[in-house]
Symmetry: C2
Subunit: 433 residues, 2 copies
């Protein structure tokens, strides 16, 4: 297999970073003035801001507002080489990775490929449900929902029409909760105006959670409050609800009647993206790679895993591994950057800055260290934190305008069904299918 | 075939408008307080602002900024029924249209389906070139260009790399000229920063025009100036250049050496979208439907054609038909709206408000009635006119910010390869493929 072209052997040691998410991007920037040659690989040419996917899915924001071209990030950075590529295999013996655009030797390999949707082996659900772990999936979800409304308009059978309107979300974590809330507000403020010919009292939004509370891992108060907010917005919240199967129109539940819906959103679990070539014994729970406190993958000195991929049990406060959130990913990346640059290595300790989740306008929950509050101020804090976290001043501006706009007009105007058809000539584009 | 569902027979006469472009949208709004029931059909759920497609293609604007959800337009309008549908056939005998979502009886039928790319029967070109007559095609073009740069990065053969960078545009009308200018500025200000590993002195942008000048139909001064502007931006402008064939990498020319490029943009001609079921004798040049001064299609009192579809020779000043531009479409729609609402009908006379075209920052040409100028002021006028023509205050705001941003930073930040994969469950979405 030929090498990835145009990456010089310039005597420097080469750090290959697989994945341009929060972890990979942070690390690549941390190595800016390092002694290394840095090669960053991602299957997209942009960095995506996961926390706001649900707003893209609910037509609140455009994809471009929460994604940022990776090349732009590194315009000023010398000897970094970014490539749009998918990692196919790691040859730990030869210290070579194989990708769809060629192979490449590494001195240090950093695996930061994140996590993907976990269907727990249920193929029916995988085929019929809509996931939400990438920007393109978020766009697909938007298109699915809007398409189903158009189909409902042309449906004569009342039952079928209802199930085209109904939306069932599985998974009561932040994604599920924020999505349910946003859809509920869409149903309340926008859809009746857009589709006067449809009766949205018939539409039911259900949130199913297997455990006994939503926002598991948040404080009791926040979980309770979030549930109350959702119900206030007329979302049916079902706790201890187990989904057994889904055929595209009927959700089968354990010990309950099936739910009728053409839109099942699956936010019930994630698993680490797998890396062919990594040894069995390195894999831990949820497919995560077992790492020591220096984020070195079990059995290797020169292969690291950071972010959602990594499973570290050395951090006293997190004996079962860290939560798979952006904060952990960025802190691990920052530390690894330091460790690679210096002689004496430091172990990782996660400092939890707290958790936020928003259900709807003026409705959010905040668990900060030693401080918990809900409602308007939590919501304002949520807006501020997320706005500041977005990459790029212009993106920030555009997001702010969109938010302010929908806040005051009770209306988003991005309800577009846009589907670029793939050009067979454009190889890369096809690969993303 | 079953009827389109949920459109009541309420005794009112039914006007069916096929197409939600400048003509169809304008007419639907003009019939707001009319005695008719209005049914509007479009294959998309949004209205698209064609004049700025080229900025979407060159990553200057997001699709959402120049498209507007049709349902939002009619929120306040009673007894209008919008459907996402494609017109398959007209049965003029029965006064029934057949679409992909069912059939429907009409009392009046207005055909406003616009024009599409004309490849003049060359299948190779149709298969290998990139058109730009729809928003999705504009996105495809953007993806094709960006993908080719990524491929060039991984290309070892110098010749192939060059042809991956080269861009050839066929057609020296406003679309071709504005596109060539935008690409030239991208090459000048952005690409070298984004792809420091590529040598953009190797990249050649060529504009091929069959006639002896660009912007045919504009004033001599404007044509000459536009050509000068393009050459100033280092675009190779070839007049009297005839493209014979294109295989995806080589453009065959009449009496000249072939050009090497992986990106051939075809803006060389349009033809009216065809409407199966309409009689032979109604079709005129370029597949346009022959209409009288009341935009009635030849041989019918109750079938009308407006916009790019219509070929009217009754207008003294335009014996060969009107130019296929938004101004004509909107003026015809406005008149037809009046005529349908009143007893005594008026014939159509086109008032030309002038033509504008922009090549790059501070570089534009303006032909106004009795007033012609080029350069900075033409450019400012172009910005203003287009900004005001965009539907929706927020879109206007977003477009303005994007323009101001790139003007002052010499940078757009929308260089994203985003490709939603189609959900097989979402019927409508598939149809748009």
């Amino acid at each position: 297999m030929k090498n990835i072209a145009n990456i010089p052997d310039n005597g420097k040691q080469r750090v290959v970073i697989a994945g341009g998410g929060f972890a990979g991007l942070k690390l690549a920037r941390a190595l800016k003035k390092s002694r290394f040659q840095v090669v960053l690989l991602d299957k997209n040419n942009y960095h995506q801001f996961q926390p706001l996917f649900y707003q893209v899915a609910t037509a609140g924001l455009e994809p471009s507002a929460i994604s940022f071209p990776l090349r732009k990030v590194f315009q000023e950075q010398p000897d970094i080489h970014f490539r749009v590529a998918t990692l196919d295999r790691v040859d730990t013996e030869k210290q070579v990775i194989r990708t769809d655009i060629g192979s490449l030797h590494y001195d240090y390999l950093v695996l930061a490929l994140g996590a993907t949707t976990n269907y727990f082996g249920n193929d029916n659900i995988r085929q019929n449900a809509v996931p939400m772990k990438s920007l393109t999936e978020a766009i697909d979800l938007r298109n699915t929902i809007l398409s189903n409304f158009e189909l409902a308009l042309n449906e004569t059978d009342a039952e079928t029409r209802k199930s085209l309107l109904n939306i069932v979300i599985v998974g009561g974590g932040p994604t599920g909760v924020e999505l349910a809330g946003a859809l509920a507000e869409m149903k309340k403020y926008i859809l009746p105006k857009d589709y006067p010919e449809l009766d949205f009292n018939q539409m039911k939004i259900s949130l199913l959670e297997a455990s006994d509370k939503v926002l598991n891992g948040y404080s009791e108060a926040s979980s309770r409050k979030a549930k109350a907010y959702l119900e206030k917005l007329d979302v049916e919240v079902r706790l201890k609800a187990m989904v057994k199967d889904y055929d595209g129109s009927q959700v089968m539940l354990e010990g309950a009647d099936p739910l009728e819906t053409h839109t099942l959103i699956w936010a019930a679990g994630v698993k680490a993206n797998s890396v062919p070539g990594m040894p069995e014994e390195a894999a831990g729970r949820g497919g995560r790679l077992v790492v020591n406190e220096f984020t070195q993958v079990k059995g290797f000195d020169n292969i690291f895993a950071i972010g959602d991929m990594a499973l570290m049990t050395a951090d006293k406060k997190y004996p079962n591994g860290h939560p798979q959130v952006a904060q952990v990913a960025m802190q691990q990346a920052a530390l690894l950057g330091k460790n690679l640059n210096s002689e004496k290595k430091k172990g990782f300790r996660y400092t939890d800055k707290g958790s936020l989740a928003t259900v709807g306008r003026n409705l959010a929950v905040a668990d900060l260290p030693g401080l918990r509050f809900q409602g308007f101020f939590a919501w304002v804090l949520w807006l501020f934190v997320h706005l500041m976290a977005i990459l790029g001043v212009k993106n920030r501006l555009i997001v702010f305008i969109n938010w302010a706009w929908s806040y005051f007009t009770y209306d988003q105007s991005l309800r577009l069904l846009i589907n670029p058809k793939r050009k067979s000539s454009a190889k890369l584009v096809e690969e993303e299918v």
